[in-house]
């Protein structure tokens, strides 16, 4: 059997019964190819583009044979596509997401609009930036629950998210301040008592509330930079955000 290969990672199969493939085989083969990261088109003129009907088809072995002919797309094997998607019909360009994210996922466009610039920096399963967005404008399409998964936003969702932002502000200015203060307290206790276990427990306790409120996976918290690095990054992000939302200077007369 041969299959048309009009472009990299793209397979053309017959859309109808030509070539001796049953509908069930076409469906199974399509699914198996998709699971191997290949794009599939079903076309009525597939024979003219190279589909040979000579031999019986076993979808599993056919999928293996076809997939071997392609270099799999790098991202298909290495990276679960988890990243924020901005709903610009809701976004007010407040830059809270830019200030919040420690992994440089966000940036600012030439026309000073927030945008997602480094998708692969995003931490898989972490939806925390969408939790701090006051407009519920940030989606993670593969998230479990709405409205973060893209479900329509309801008035209650906006109220709930706004409340979370207020709570984090009440806790000490912002989330990073909260983290820093608690971390400092933990460090101070550690230095006085020289008790590794207790210090570690304290640090873990400090992060529980944050983890619960923002649904941050434990692995992401464990991978956080040191408090000093967090402060430096947060400050740099704040400056970028501030520069982006600052009104342009009045021209001197």
């Amino acid at each position: 059997m041969s299959i048309a290969v009009p472009r990299r990672s793209h397979v053309v199969l017959p859309a109808d019964g030509t070539g001796g493939m049953s509908a069930a085989d076409r469906s199974t083969l399509t699914r198996l190819l998709l699971e191997r990261g290949l794009e599939v088109s079903l076309r009525r003129d597939a024979e003219r583009t190279g589909h040979d009907t000579g031999e019986p088809l076993d979808p599993a072995s056919a999928a293996d044979r076809i997939a071997q002919r392609f270099e799999p797309p790098v991202s298909a094997a290495a990276w679960k596509p988890w990243f924020p998607v901005i709903d610009y019909s809701r976004c007010t360009n407040c830059m809270q997401c830019l200030s919040f994210c420690l992994f440089d996922v966000y940036g600012v466009s030439a026309d000073q609009k927030i945008q997602v610039q480094n998708q692969s920096n995003c931490k898989t399963e972490c939806p925390a930036c969408s939790r701090v967005c006051p407009e519920v404008a940030i989606m993670f399409p593969k998230y479990r629950h709405g409205p973060i998964n893209g479900e329509d936003v309801k008035a209650d969702d906006v109220r709930r998210e706004a409340m979370k932002v207020d709570i984090s502000a009440l806790l000490g200015g912002d989330i990073y301040s909260m983290l820093r203060d608690r971390s400092v307290k933990a460090k101070s206790r550690f230095s006085k008592e020289r008790d590794d276990e207790r210090a570690l427990k304290e640090r873990q306790n400090c992060l529980v509330a944050l983890q619960r409120d923002l649904d941050i996976p434990a692995e992401v918290l464990a991978a956080l930079p040191t408090p000093d690095e967090i402060l430096a990054k947060a400050e740099a992000a704040r400056q970028r955000a501030q520069a982006a939302i600052q009104p342009p200077a009045e021209p001197k007369s």
């Binding site: 509908a23 990261g37 076309r43 998607v85 997602v116 399409p141 998964n149 329509d152």
Partner: protein, 122 residues
């Protein structure tokens, strides 16, 4: 809908388990049994992250009917890849919440009468 029949695009959401596997299989079965032409992609999120030019090509190719997930997410996934879905001629069927039969019926509907559970998000 214009006279041109909508092109069918199916997203397999291959890199996550948020779309039920039985719904995806039933939708693929329905399309292949109908013998219609369609395009199937492993994962629209992954294509959007790569700003795959194919998304622009699909968005510009006329009426499009899509089987994927929440319409608001799909719309902005295309947009973030620089591909604006035409508001008037793109219909999105949500395999996360709609039963497979409704999705297949909607994809195969050439009249434009079938309406997804959630209207295309503005």
């Amino acid at each position: 809908m214009s006279g041109q029949p909508p092109r069918i695009l199916y997203c397999h959401c291959a890199f996550a388990k948020v779309v039920p596997g039985d719904v995806k299989s039933a939708v693929l079965d329905g399309l292949t049994e109908a013998g219609v032409e369609f395009d199937a992609v492993p994962d629209l999120c992954e294509m959007s992250a790569r700003s795959d030019p194919r998304l622009r090509e699909l968005a510009a190719s006329g009426p499009l009917t899509i089987a994927a997930c929440y319409p608001r997410a799909v719309k902005w996934l295309f947009a973030s890849a620089g591909a604006s879905l035409p508001e008037s001629s793109a219909r999105i069927w949500n395999m996360r919440v709609e039963p497979a039969e409704s999705v297949v019926r909607g994809l195969l509907d050439r009249s434009g009468d079938a309406t997804p559970m959630e209207a295309h998000a503005e």
